[in-house]
């Protein structure tokens, strides 16, 4: 399994989601993408995208003031 890290700290919506969509294309099924972000609105858009695409979230938490991390396993 490959784990890839994507930091989009400092990027405002919709760029975190656009970057995440691009990054996951390079992965194969079962690989994980760890996204660190600090755009508040992405707490809505990223989980929504993951759920609709059918990927799995293996970790999702707030790690600091206005900073979140989410780990997405590609379907």
């Amino acid at each position: 399994m490959i784990q890839q890290k994507l930091s989009v700290i400092g990027q405002v919506c919709p760029f975190p989601l656009i970057e995440a969509k691009e990054a996951i294309k390079t992965l194969s099924s079962g690989d994980e993408l760890i996204i660190d972000f600090d755009c508040t609105q992405a707490t809505e858009s990223i989980p929504q995208w993951v759920a609709e695409e059918g990927h799995t979230v293996t970790n999702y938490e707030q790690i600091d003031d206005a900073t979140w991390t989410i780990t997405v396993r590609k379907k």
Partner: protein, 357 residues
């Protein structure tokens, strides 16, 4: 004066709080209809419009508040709303969105807000006020849609309510995708207010109710309008540079309240952080703010004033502005998100660093 300060700040704070917690972003909503074919936020807006419309027409009918639709300055509304739509994509949020994101500590939104407020003042009492007035002279006499067709406003209110309910129910009936949620770290009320995800439709209901509340509160202080962002934002600048108290009204406290409410919501949910954009984003945000101020002043409203309030009042201004504003966001989205990415994809082979675990 004290009543104006208190009710304005409270109404604004409620709106700022609800929008921050509900991530109520109209710019994102309009943009995503095109970018991701996702209409959820648009349906949420329809719900807020329908709820407000029922409340407002009931208040007008019972004589609690006054409302006159006036004339329809169609040229100014169309040109202004299109420019406004482009501006909000560049600024990364509509007028209200920019106010509440400023309260989350986003410096980029402060920059956009500065451009927006100053440009609105320039358009209202500054060197561009003559231009603004001359374009606004191109008008049709009737702004009220029910008057044009000679029907009861309630007929249209019912129509919008039915359409909103139809889409909301259809959306809610879609097979539920399990939405991943954050690890719960709080309990009870603190969890509900400051941690739990709010459904966009729930947020929309609250926004609609606050929009109703705004009318009697504002009219009690002599300002015959509901929620409004652009004129109050301009008024704040006008007051600050002239010291003239005539510019201070309920709306000014409303917009300051949005900032306050969003700050409280963000701070209590550990979502407040000063976040500085890079140089490129700063310039884009500033340009977006200028276009927003120019467009909203010309159109006589932003996504709230026209998109939420004038639509609920069933005016041509509201619905035409909403449609054109959405076209503006799509135009800007194409140039900001779609075109650069497809060009990049053509010229570059993907280079990504992967680390094996």
């Amino acid at each position: 004066m004290l009543q104006m300060i208190i009710t304005g700040l409270i109404c604004g704070a409620l709106l700022g709080f609800v929008m921050q917690r509900g991530r109520f972003c109209l710019t994102g909503g309009f943009r995503d209809i095109y970018l991701t074919r996702n209409n959820r936020m648009f349906y949420a807006l329809l719900i807020a419009i329908a709820i407000q419309a029922v409340g407002i027409f009931a208040l007008v009918q019972s004589g609690v508040i006054e409302f006159k639709a006036g004339s329809f300055n169609w040229l100014a509304v169309i040109v202004g709303s299109y420019v406004f739509g482009i501006g909000i994509v560049l600024a990364g949020g509509c007028a209200t969105g920019t106010w509440y994101r400023a309260g989350e500590g986003l410096i980029g939104s402060w920059i956009a807000l500065f451009g927006y407020m100053v440009m609105s003042a320039i358009m209202k009492t500054g060197p561009l006020s003559g231009f603004n007035k001359s374009i606004s002279k191109v008008s049709a006499p009737t702004n009220s849609i029910p008057d044009t067709f000679g029907i009861s406003a309630w007929f249209l209110v019912a129509l919008v309510a039915i359409i909103a309910a139809f889409f909301a129910i259809r959306e809610l009936r879609k097979p539920k995708v399990a939405l991943p949620s954050l690890k719960q770290k709080r309990k009870g009320l603190a969890h509900l207010l400051f941690e739990k995800r709010w459904h966009p439709f729930f947020t929309a209901v609250l926004v609609g109710l606050i929009a109703i509340l705004a009318w009697p509160l504002s009219e009690a202080t002599g300002r015959k309008a509901g929620l409004g962002i652009t004129t109050p934002s301009a008024n704040l600048v006008q007051y600050l540079v002239t010291g003239d108290h005539k510019f201070l009204n309920w709306g000014v406290y409303l917009v300051l309240g949005i900032l306050l409410g969003s700050f409280i919501a963000a701070k209590a949910s550990r979502e407040f952080k000063f976040r500085a954009p890079d140089a490129r984003t700063s310039v884009t945000s500033f340009a977006g703010g200028i276009l927003m101020g120019f467009g909203a002043s010309l159109a006589g409203g932003c996504s709230i004033g026209n998109g939420l309030v004038q639509t609920a009042m069933m005016t041509w201004q509201g619905w035409v502005a909403l449609a054109v504003m959405i076209l503006g966001t799509w135009t800007a989205s194409y140039f900001v998100y779609v075109r650069p990415r497809s060009q990049k994809a053509r010229t570059q082979t993907s280079a990504s660093v992967q680390t094996a675990v």
